[in-house]
Each structure stands twice: as structure tokens, then as C-alpha cells.
Amino acid sequence: MYDPDSARQTLKTAIARLASGDRDALEDIYRATSAKLFGICYRILGDEKEAEDALQDVYLTLWRRADRYDPERASPISWLATFARNRAIDRLRTGKVRGGSVPVDEAAPLADDAPLAEAALIDGERDARVHTCLDTLDDAPRKAIRSAFFDGHTYAQLAERADVPLGTMKSWVRRGLAKLKTCMEAGE
């Protein structure tokens, strides 16, 4: 039976093992999370090779910095997802990458479903509040916030793509974020 708590606990334990210097823990973490994190890197970078480099970077950094994870804090997969997304965005911003998002219909052909099943086990967060809270926003801020998250777009890029002045985009997004915060806090 699927038990998200125990999947999460297993991952937390693996991160703790890694932080204490157990190198084998990294392979366990990789097997359990790489499909999710690679999906994130690929979504943001839009390039297989770049995403592979980013992924490699994520796990090597994790090995060196596993002690940054605070087990009292978020779910470990959220922490890893944030970590992967930030590394991918850093890479995107260094300018070497063409960037841009992957078209939705290019949902990757998948080599092997086993790791995915495992990744899905750890997720267990699909009902998270952010989804419903985002849906309460107006169209424009919702789209902009999603695009910032999924494509790594900055304010300037969002404004350009929506063909509105920068100030307009900022005020849309800020109002949206303030509203999102209120909605999220209502459930925290």
C-alpha cells in the first residue's frame, strides 16, 4: 500500500545519512527523485543536455550540502524540487542556454515507468493548497505567476510576452501574490 508518510520518512532518512557522510545514500535519493527533478530541470531549460548537466549539478551539490536540509522543515521532496528549480534557473540566467519552455505536447516519451511510480509515491502533495489558491486569482496574474514558476521568466520577460508595460505586470503579479498569501495562510 502507498504510504506517503513512510516514503517521505525514507527520503528524510536518506538525506540525513548523506549529511553524515554516507555516500551510498545519494544513490537511494537519486533513484527515488531523479525523474521528478529531471522533469523540473527539463521544463525550465528546455534542452536535454542542459537539463542533464543541471541534474548532475543538483545531486553533486546535494552531496556536498545535504546538511542544509532542516528535517523539521518542509517535505524533503519540496526542498529538493525547490533546489532543482533554483539551480536550473541559475543556469538559465547565465545566458548560455536558449531557455524557453517545453511545449506541453512534448510530454516526454518515458523509458521506464518504475522510477516514476516511485516519484509519484513521494509526491503525495497533489492536493496542496497552492493549486486551489492560484485558481482564485484573476487570469492575468495567475498566468504570469505560473509562467514565472514553470518557465523561469522574470518580470521583464513576462511584461514583454504579455505586451504590457513592466509596471503593469509588476502590479498584477504583486496583487496576485498578496492574494495568494492570504489564501495560503487561511489554510496554514
Binding site: L60, D67, P115, L116, Y155
Partner: protein, 243 residues
């Protein structure tokens, strides 16, 4: 809401989402390192937003990505010792007393480990590559709450540069220099902001690396000091101490 007035929590969200650029981004990074309540806001937003990634289709990386990671791990032969060293270094830093801002930055790195029992020093002595005592230096960067941590592993000829919390401004790089007893400064490489990076130390520098050795940090054009011009302004300095 005008451009200048925005609540911190919204700024934290903008930063967590990656909307900011240029000076705003740098200012937010500095605050994240220096202001615990802002840093907590950022973390809270990261945790709130992270489940959005559930909408991203997972993708299985090619098998040789793991092979490459493993290969890097093997190459990284000092790493176990480096992890151990981080722990030693931290105890040394806590013992040495830090400014509040530096302590915050450090707490970021150190959270889960501080409470743990101190590892036996014998673990270090018997480990490969740590026969000679490592050297450490803290380099506070003038006019900012940031600092650079430098750790030298004599047996690996490796200088570990911790520049977490520092961010690139896109215009300058910072270069680390060893000041030998006489003669020209010896470059120890250009700082990579935001990461912990191992620099290999040239032999002519290694023989001068000792307790009390002086280090300088200069501001240079991107890529470091150009060959045909003088080093840029000194923005920080420090001395090595044995740990």
C-alpha cells in the same frame, strides 16, 4: 501599490519565484543572508510554491547521468574529509564568535548538525588526505554582511572556497590572492558566487600556505585579472589559521 512600496512577504515571493533581476535580485540575496525573518519568508514561499512542480511531467534521465555523477564522486576524493572538515570548521567558527549576520548565514549551512555530538578527532587523523592540519580563514567583505570562508587542505593541495550568499553582479568577478613573504601575489583563483568550490592550488603557492599566511580579495573584470593589467582594488583580506 506603487513600485517602491511592497510588503516584505511579497518581495520574498517575488524572490522565491525568480522574478527579480539585477540590483533588486542582489539586494534580495543580501537580505536573505542577513535578515532571518526575510529568509524565513522566502523559505515559506518556496515550500508553498513547490507543490506546483507536481504538474511537471516527470522524466527519466538517461542511465549515464548517474554514471557521470558517480564518476564525479570518485574524483571528489577529498569529499568525505571535506564534509568532516565543514563540521570542524563550524565548531571553530562558533567558538571564534561571529557577527550576528554571519551567524545567520552560517546557521543556514549548519542547522541540523550543530546539536549532534562532536565526531571523534581520531576519525580525521586516520582518514586519507588529512595528515597535515587544514587551514581556515574568514574574509568579511567590506560594506556588506557577507563573507567568504576559505579552507585549505594541504594534502589535497585544495582550497575550498565557500561563497554561499554571495551573488554575481554580472560585471565583476572577485579573485583570491596569496601574499607570499616576497615577490608577486599568487592567484588562488576567481570566486564562484553562491557555491562551495574546490580550487586546486598551484605548487608555488602551496609552499607558502601556512598558519598566518595573508590572503587578499580583489575586484576584477569578469574572468579575473587580465594578464596585462594590475590587480583591481582590494575588497577584503584575511589570514589563515590552523584548525
Amino acid at each position: 501599490m506603487t513600485d517602491e512600496r511592497r510588503p516584505d512577504a511579497v518581495l520574498a515571493a517575488e524572490y522565491a519565484l525568480g522574478l527579480l533581476e539585477g540590483e533588486e535580485l542582489m539586494a534580495a540575496r543580501v537580505r536573505e543572508g542577513a535578515d532571518p525573518s526575510f529568509a524565513a519568508d522566502v523559505m515559506r514561499w518556496q515550500d508553498r510554491l513547490a507543490p506546483l512542480a507536481d504538474d511537471i511531467h516527470p522524466r527519466v534521465p538517461r542511465e549515464d547521468v548517474w554514471a557521470r555523477i558517480e564518476e564525479e564522486l570518485q574524483k571528489d576524493r577529498g569529499t568525505a574529509e571535506v564534509a568532516e572538515l565543514h563540521r570542524r570548521l563550524r565548531r571553530w567558527q562558533w567558538a571564534g564568535g561571529l557577527s550576528a549576520a554571519a551567524a545567520v548565514a552560517l546557521a543556514f549551512l549548519a542547522l541540523p548538525v550543530i546539536n549532534g555530538p562532536a565526531p571523534e578527532p581520531t576519525n580525521i587523523a586516520v582518514g586519507p588526505g588529512l595528515a597535515q592540519p587544514p587551514l581556515a580563514a574568514n574574509m568579511p567583505i567590506e560594506g556588506t554582511p557577507l563573507r567568504l570562508d576559505l579552507t585549505y587542505l594541504p594534502d589535497a593541495h585544495s582550497l575550498l572556497v565557500t561563497a554561499v550568499g554571495l551573488s554575481a553582479d554580472g560585471v565583476h568577478d572577485h579573485e583570491i590572492w596569496l601574499v607570499p613573504p616576497e615577490g608577486d601575489l599568487i592567484s588562488l583563483g576567481v570566486v564562484t558566487p553562491g557555491v562551495v568550490q574546490a580550487h586546486s592550488v598551484p605548487l608555488d603557492a602551496a609552499r607558502f600556505m601556512a598558519d598566518g599566511s595573508k590572503l587578499l580579495l580583489t575586484r576584477e573584470p569578469l574572468g579575473g585579472k587580465p594578464q596585462d593589467s594590475a590587480a583591481g582594488p582590494v575588497v577584503a583580506q584575511a589570514s589563515f589559521a590552523t584548525i
